[in-house]
């Protein structure tokens, strides 16, 4: 078996991996991009439109992948790295397809998974068909398959984020603004329905987010209730009955809805299996812990292994792409010094 040799292997063909590949290629590094799925794009593929400007998510994926094609950057699809070991300063990677790749550096762009709410059974996911995740809603919006005129829909923020009960203490950063975006989309779909967001805090921290939130209230008449969902049950008419603690009023309340959307949070995607000698430190939320979160956000605890995008924690698409570009600088710097 021949060993493929590259300077940099990028694991994960989502927006982070794609952006980093192009950037590294531009600076003259010999790179390969490895993706487990049939298609590049990662999690962004699951989105219909992105906040804050309702741009189709596919535009972003297409633009990044066209760059790869143009530059003839090698991409291995349906390939996952099963094992990584170090070998005199280089890394040997083995894939499920049987390839063996040797590289000077590895850039982890493995990204995130969304929280599986079936463990949070009280929200009814997997039990009542009308409870779905934000990712499933995107699919339905994309394919226009979300059924006939519901009268009332609720979106619950922070599902699997900031929730001690499921041992997930971190904020997933994008669910708040995603919820606002989805609420507006739902309202446009069902102008007569009442759309309600149940939030803990609204974290409208980036450009355009606060404006979107304002629009949602003023233009689209979306209701925001600061409240925690405690449980979801069915009444005799098969409506979903939500029991909520209104945390502003300090009172429990009940809400009957036709559909419940769970804004699922982000959690770290599984990393490839590393040899014992390779130590990649993780932060308490399970994502990779950068060597220095301010000055070296892309360096891991293992020299020669870098991380980018949501591999080191939740990020927006824009942050992910910038982070990937910054990671390619860190990789180049390392290769030059070597």
């Amino acid at each position: 078996m021949t060993t493929l040799k590259y300077q940099t292997v990028i694991i994960g063909g989502g927006v982070a991996g794609m952006a980093a590949a192009t950037e590294l290629h531009k600076s003259g590094s010999k790179v390969v991009l490895i993706e487990g799925n049939k298609k590049l794009g990662g999690q962004v593929n699951n989105w219909y439109k992105v906040f804050p400007n309702f741009r189709p998510a596919s535009e972003i994926v297409n633009s990044l992948s066209t760059n790869l094609l143009k530059d003839k950057i090698p991409v291995l699809l349906e390939t996952s790295i099963t094992h990584i070991e170090s070998n005199s300063g280089n890394y040997i990677l083995k894939s499920n397809q049987g390839q063996v790749i040797e590289a000077e550096t590895v850039l982890l762009a493995t990204g995130f998974n969304t929280f599986d709410p079936s463990g949070k059974e009280e929200y009814g996911y997997g039990i009542y068909p009308n409870v779905l995740t934000s990712v499933e809603l995107e699919q339905r919006l994309k394919t226009n398959t979300n059924g006939i005129s519901p009268k009332r829909i609720a979106l619950v923020h922070c599902v699997g984020s900031r929730d001690e009960k499921v041992n997930r203490l971190h904020c997933s950063k994008v669910c708040c603004v995603s919820a606002v975006k989805q609420a507006i989309e739902l309202k446009e779909f069902y102008p007569n329905a009442e759309i309600i967001c149940l939030y803990m805090d609204l974290r409208m921290y980036d450009n355009g987010f606060e404006e979107l939130y304002r629009d949602a209230q003023l233009q689209h008449n979306i209701k925001f209730i600061r409240g925690r969902l405690s449980e979801c049950a069915l009444n005799i008419e098969k409506d979903l009955v939500l029991k909520i603690q209104d945390t502003l009023a300090g009172l429990p309340m009940k809400l009957t809805v036709d559909q419940l959307i769970l804004m699922v949070g982000k959690e770290a995607h599984q990393l490839p299996q590393f040899d014992e000698s390779i130590i990649i430190e993780k932060a308490s939320h399970g994502f990779i812990k950068p060597a220095d979160s301010h000055l070296n956000p892309n360096t891991t605890s293992q020299p020669g292994i870098f991380c980018c995008g949501t591999t080191s924690g939740p990020k927006t698409i824009q942050e992910t792409i910038s982070d990937a570009r910054s990671a390619s600088l860190a990789v180049c710097d390392y290769l030059n010094k070597k």
């Binding site: 463990g119 059974e121 039990i127 005129s149 519901p150 041992n167 049950a233 069915l234 009955v241």
Partner: protein, 607 residues
Amino acid sequence: MAFDPLVIPFSLGLIFLLIVVFYKYYTWIRQMPKPKNPPKGLNRIKAYFDASIEVIMESLLHRKIFKQNKLLGYMHMSIAFGWFMLIVVGNLEAKMTSTNAINPPYFPIFLNFFAPDRSLTPGHGIFSFTMDLFLAMVLSGLLLAFIKRSKSRLFGMRRTSKMRGMDKIALYSLWLIFPLRLFAESFNAYNHNSGNFLSANCGDFFATFLPVAQLEYSMWVLYSLSLGVFFVALPWSRYSHIPTEVVLIFIRHLGYRSCVKPTGYNMFDLYSCSRCGICIDQCQINILSETNKTVTAHYIYDMRVGNKNDFGLYSCLACGRCEEACPVGIKTVDLRIGKRYSETPQTVVKYNVPKPLKPTAHNVGYFSGCMGKLTPSVIESMHTIFRAANENVLHIDKEDGICCGRPLILSGRVDQAAQLIQLNKDRIVASGIKTLVTSCPICLKTFKEDYDLNIEVIHHSEYIEQLLETRKIKTKFTNQNVAYHDPCELGRGLKIYDAPRNVIRNVAILSENPNKNERELCCGGSLAGIALSQEQKQTLASDAIHQIIDNETKALITSCPLCKKSFTQTSVIKVMDIAEIISQNLILPAEHKVKEKQHVQEFVNYN
């Protein structure tokens, strides 16, 4: 009357001990409410008789500890039984020796000192042999106790209790008593040419290099001193269990019970613990902290001396594993909850609860409970089963319900719980149902023990078992390998082990785990573990899962919504409630299938 100043330390110690002990027991007994069902008439005599037998079997022979580990059992038995026999035989011999009607209590203890030559006492040979034999027995027990300090594994214990404070003084004096007695007796034997296999031979041996004639008196003095010190330290040490356990056994037989609101009974429990350490290995908090301050053996010490140990108080899962293992039968969970009760200010709350139910014609009521609300899959499965069996069941807390009160009890808010219990009881009773089915073992135990409901209360596993037996529902068998986990409250709490297993065997292959039944592990999610973080609870859950399942197990079945919730978060395999596995494998008649389909379809129609 024979007297010598050397008996003073012993006698003073004994008097002191008796005063303290009787004073304590008197106060505790006065703090005990009258038992609910005391044995009457002949039964009362039987109770005394049974208690005496139990005292012999447990306090002297330590039968339960023997069952656990032979060596450990022998250690406890040899010290307790050997010492007891020394006292009994010594007293008998003293009776035979002295012409006085009454001997002072020290006389038999120092018999060899006061009457070294007893060759004329009837049965002298047998007496001196038995006395030596039991002394040898006690000494061998002490030797084992000494070894156990460092080699507890030999005794079937991974961890053993550490000696603290007064325990140390009592322990060292106890360790000294019998070697000193051996010295005193063997010197005495040499000096008076008496003794038996142990004392005579030891006497001869010591005489080869020690001035035994001059030393004998000092040995008796030291012996008396060590006894005196031990007696003074006893009420404040772990050895207080010696007299207390005996009283505990009697009051238990007389119908007194422990209570989550501390009474005198709980004090007897508290001081009956010998800190034998048998419970230590049972406590799952061990995997969270090497120095487990939670387990009863340690916590009881803190309770006795009044040490503040908030983690120990509020991290206990109330799983009852230590209670199950305790050879003394101490109600360890009630002790802890009682302590929580006394640390919690009890306030009167104004509950805003739903109204009592209207009288209905339903025979069966279903109570899904607060925990059930967190696992709607269980409720849905139960409804599927009710429909399949054509049972018209009243879902008591479908939309509104009142908590059973147990979470409040576990947190020490016993009085508030009592208020809630009354409200919930009124609500249930008003409905007129005859049978109450619960999905949650926590509610079940509370309904059974704290509600005084005059109706049948059963767990859904028992209910499903009935439906299967009466062929009201039929199931298909799958060749799935499943494991079953006994929830604490259903298993150890209510001893319901068979019903769930019988039910599961209808639909799957059940493989048992080594910790089943009363030895089952807690899921970690217990409502009692207030001080534990979610992360710690998950550590407990995943540790438990790994001990319950193996590579062949396809699903973990439990019958408690709370266990299901704790396990789901860390389990690699599917976790299901017993109601779910049954509802998924129901064989439904054709017309029923159509109905079920409609039932599901109605969900997706918004209008």
